[in-house]
Symmetry: C2
Subunit: 199 residues, 2 copies
């Protein structure tokens, strides 16, 4: 009996790229039901394989989310690198951070829930370091990077864009901020390091 994954690809005993398929299924399922609402067996069903197949590639459920988190940090680094090369300004780097959170919601939500995955996994730690360096680098363009408050300024910059992204994702922001998150993020990030609101 030949089975089919989805409605397209003919399948045999070996899937071909089950790892990729499970990660994609996880991203979809998390977007639908949140990071806590997924099950390994459902991911297996979505990929068209038996219930225990994902376990062979990722060890356990946390392993799937670990791989997703690592992938997320790499995607974030890529997004930040592009923004850095085009403008290099702090505000646009922050906008890129928010854009990543919105476009890769599932990845973002997993990345900052270390209780759900193996946060000390080497691949995750390395990818997290890369993206962290990129994010923090952009703050030097607007503040004195050697000043005593340089570290505080970096954390403040990270906090404001991370907070905005988180609040946007949870739907906690007042109506009007929902339609165009990037413009809203630009306005919000612009308030940091600027004397006062223009109004």
């Amino acid at each position: 009996m030949t089975r089919y994954a989805g409605a397209m690809t003919p399948r045999s005993y070996h899937h071909g790229d089950l790892r990729r398929a499970v990660l994609d299924a996880a991203a979809t399922a998390i977007t639908e039901h949140g990071p806590a609402g997924i099950s390994l067996r459902d991911l297996a069903r979505r990929a068209g394989v038996s219930h225990a197949a994902p376990g062979h590639h990722f060890g356990d459920k946390a392993g799937v989310l670990t791989a997703l988190a690592a992938e997320g940090y790499d995607l974030l680094a890529e997004t930040l690198r592009e923004a850095q090369q085009s403008t290099g300004q702090f505000v646009e780097l922050g906008v890129a951070y928010v854009r990543f959170a919105v476009e890769h919601r599932a990845h973002f939500e997993v990345m900052f829930r270390p209780d759900l995955y193996h946060a000390d996994d080497p691949a995750v730690v390395a990818a997290r370091g890369r993206s962290g360096d990129l994010l923090v680098g952009g703050v030097g363009s607007v503040t004195d990077p050697t000043g005593p408050d340089a570290e505080v300024a970096k954390v403040a910059a990270w906090s404001i864009v991370h907070g905005f992204a988180t609040l946007w994702l949870t739907g906690a922001l007042p109506p009007g901020f929902g339609e165009d998150p990037e413009s809203a993020a630009r306005a919000v990030a612009g308030m940091l390091f600027s004397k006062e609101p223009k109004g």
Copy 2:
């Protein structure tokens, strides 16, 4: 057979205040294992009752977290009200926000995971509204509340303290920010609406 809840209170068929006991057990369990790592049956065991008892008070698992979220918003409102009465300044209001997140970690973590509970529950909506008004009120003290960017300033303020609290809780901040979250929060929040870092 007489049973005992914990090691103190003699118990009979009726618990007395099972609702309170389950909520306390939930807060403890969430602090230990995260919001996704709890089980109703474990809460029942911690409270010393049968596995289905919590269901009668909260309906389902999401009901427990709904009650916890509502309680959290009320606790937050209380914390903000105290800070508002003592100083009324935006920065101290933000510090109070962070203090709440640190001291009531379990509540805070649930509150901003609407996929885990019934976010449209009337009690939650009401409590959320109360705390939101208090938080936003403090921003008017530092910016022009009638200006065109007033709404943006409020969201920026909320974002920076919420982001800092979230990052602190996930352990994502660089070492040195961990020991005294309130002082760090004060420094970070002080960067908003101020021309530039002092350094």
